[in-house]
């Protein structure tokens, strides 16, 4: 009886001691030798930023003698934007489309509304586009968008409500429908047929790739070009093929310093340098190696053979900018809700 009581109080004391130790060791030291940068990004950029972060940390250390450590968070672009608005303290936001950063400026008031002007090329250091990934030998003979709306073809794409890539997918499909049918009404009919062939909507691009590649669901994956290359060359060598459609969309994933958070953390300078680093030939080469289309003309020329030439529509010219596109197609009660519930 006695030793049992001793045991109990020892256990209670142990718990309390650990508790105290934990709450004490939580804060990071704040000397100027190290600095911490939180990058909240979209889904498929994990490999890219792993490489970029290492290169930048080396450069910053050499130039300023300061060690930068990175905190990375990845998820569907819309979801990540929501988290930053709700208080996830990102120093930089590197998301799939400008609208998701607009939302942080609009609803969160965490950066100026004209953030896009603060870096070159509309604050998009690289571009990408949407292509198809099909299974080896292309058993369903998919050559262009028109084939995706045929009965018996199963299409994998993420949810446009939460994923940036999915919104680019949707608009690329719309652009085809409009060109083929000659009107927005025809486009809506085409797109709603296409989404009738979608068995599952994952919340981010990476989830969709896993659904297609690992779980073996679906005949065709609408994917970021970089994600398609990654799947084709590194995940299932020889198991997949890329199909380049006749028309697609020029995707401009945007980056921005979340200035209010950076001000609070004292990271403005390093955050700005980090994003500007993305435009240097060194980073642009890393970007191209990760299958994103570089902006730098020299690097682009060097990797010319890697990227097929596609007729690309742009969000500003063909859809009147992201604000309008978001309101028309993706907000509650928009076109996507109409066609997806109709199904």
């Amino acid at each position: 009886m006695i030793n049992r009581r001793i045991l109990l109080s020892a256990a209670a004391f142990g718990l309390l001691a650990t508790l105290g130790a934990c709450s004490g060791g939580d804060k990071t030291s704040d000397d100027s030798k190290t600095i911490e940068l939180t990058n909240v990004s979209y889904d498929p950029t994990r490999e890219l930023y792993k490489a970029i972060n290492d290169a930048f940390a080396q450069k910053w250390k050499a130039e300023n003698g300061q060690t930068v450590t990175f905190q990375m968070s990845h998820g569907g672009s819309g979801k990540q934007s929501r988290a930053i608005i709700d208080g996830l303290e990102a120093d930089v936001a590197t998301l799939a489309l400008a609208y998701d950063i607009d939302a942080i400026a609009d609803k969160g008031k965490l950066l100026p509304a004209n953030w896009q002007a603060s870096l070159p090329d509309n604050s998009a250091p690289y571009t990408s586009t949407i292509v198809f990934l099909v299974r080896k030998g292309n058993p369903k003979h998919i050559t262009d968008w028109g084939d995706l709306a045929k009965p018996g073809v199963s299409v994998i794409t993420p949810n446009p409500k939460t994923s940036g890539g999915a919104r680019w997918n949707f608009l690329a499909a719309w652009a085809y429908g409009r060109k083929a049918g000659g009107s927005d009404a025809a486009a809506e009919q085409f797109v709603s047929k296409l989404y009738g062939n979608v068995p599952v909507l994952d919340s981010g691009a990476r989830g969709s790739t896993t659904t297609f590649v690992e779980r073996g669901i679906g005949d065709v994956l609408l994917a970021w070009e970089n994600e398609a290359f990654l799947a084709e060359q590194e995940l299932g060598k020889g198991k997949f093929e890329i199909v380049v459609p006749s028309i697609s969309v020029l995707a401009e994933p945007s980056v921005a310093v979340v200035s209010e958070n950076a001000k609070k953390h004292g990271t403005e300078k390093v955050a700005d340098a980090y994003l500007r680093f993305l435009y240097t030939p060194e980073a642009q080469t890393v970007i191209a190696r990760n299958f994103y289309r570089p902006r730098d003309p020299q690097v682009a020329a060097q990797f010319k053979d890697q990227f097929p030439t596609i007729n690309l529509v742009t969000i500003d010219k063909d859809f009147g900018g992201w604000k309008k596109a978001q309101a028309t197609y993706f907000d509650d009660g928009g076109v996507f809700d109409r066609i997806y519930t109709k199904k």
Binding site: L16, D26, Q71, A83, G87, T210
Partner: protein
């Protein structure tokens, strides 16, 4: 003859039922568990070990343990207090309290997480005040602890309430009439009476605290190395096509759960042993 036939039949039926149940359990519980371990060990022990001692994985393991260490004691204190009050006293609002304790069981974990975003998020009820005082709750460790405490609220209390009600308050009344004060009664009479039930509740609570995914996912922010718990880390590794890593960390979680289960069985055996099978 008819009796013998009846026995044979019931034996057959019994064999079928037992066999069916075992096959069902094997198929739905054992097989997936084995699959997790075999996937994790696909490339041998060294790859398995490398995935676990990796920096972010260690951070996730540490965070998961910290969360369990904070939320389990909180729930123990609350659980004992609540079940003590409910079992030994009559007061207004008692049934309301019981309903409230059950609330986390009936609310979806995702909603539980969102409650905290609504309360403590930058645009939540307390958000502006927290920001003004530079306090971080959501997307930081405190938010994850809060969500876990909320989710695991009922485990200890639910375990103790029936036990304490069954035991009644005779022992305590006897102690008080012999001159014991409140603390003495609690330490020497109540606690020894409920100790096995309490430990059982703690184990259940601990298992859930370490394994919770939904609510924690909503409030975590998924910053690797900082706010990723083990279940979240498993998801991240899986999404990065690091299947060996994902299943290695998943196996570690499963091992923790198995240890808990074994401890539970041992406790149950002791509990029955001490109470001659009476207990719960």
């Amino acid at each position: 003859m008819s009796r013998a036939a009846a026995v044979t039949e019931s034996r057959l039926a019994r064999a079928l039922l037992i066999g069916g149940a075992m096959a069902f359990l094997g198929f739905f519980l054992l097989l997936p568990l084995l699959a997790v371990f075999s996937e994790g060990l696909k490339q041998g022990w060294s790859a398995f070990a490398a995935a676990i001692v990796e920096h972010d994985a260690l951070a996730a393991i540490r965070l998961t343990l910290i969360i369990a260490v904070i939320s389990v004691p909180l729930n123990v204190v609350f659980g004992i207090a609540a079940s003590w009050a409910i079992a030994k006293f009559n007061f207004k609002g008692k049934s309301l309290l019981i309903t409230l304790i059950d609330l986390p069981f009936s609310v979806s974990p995702v909603v539980s997480g969102l409650i905290f975003v609504l309360l403590f998020g930058a645009h939540g009820l307390l958000g502006p005040w927290l920001q003004a005082h530079d306090l971080k709750i959501i997307f930081a460790v405190p938010g994850i602890v809060l969500a876990t405490v909320f989710i695991t609220f009922p485990f200890v209390a639910r375990e103790l309430i029936p036990l304490m009600m069954e035991q009644g308050k005779d022992d305590e009344e006897a102690a008080v009439s012999l001159g014991a004060n409140g603390w003495q009664t609690f330490w020497h009479v109540t606690l020894p009476n409920i100790r096995w039930g309490l430990l059982y509740g703690v184990l259940l609570c601990n298992a859930r605290a370490m394994g919770e995914f939904g609510a924690v996912s909503v409030v975590s922010g998924h910053i690797r190395g900082m706010t990723n718990t083990m279940p979240l880390h498993v998801e991240i590794l899986y999404n990065e096509y690091d299947f060996v890593g994902a299943f290695a960390v998943a196996s570690l979680l499963a091992v923790l759960a198995l240890v808990t289960l074994v401890a539970k069985s041992v406790l149950e055996w002791r509990f029955d042993y001490h109470h001659g099978g009476a207990g719960h």
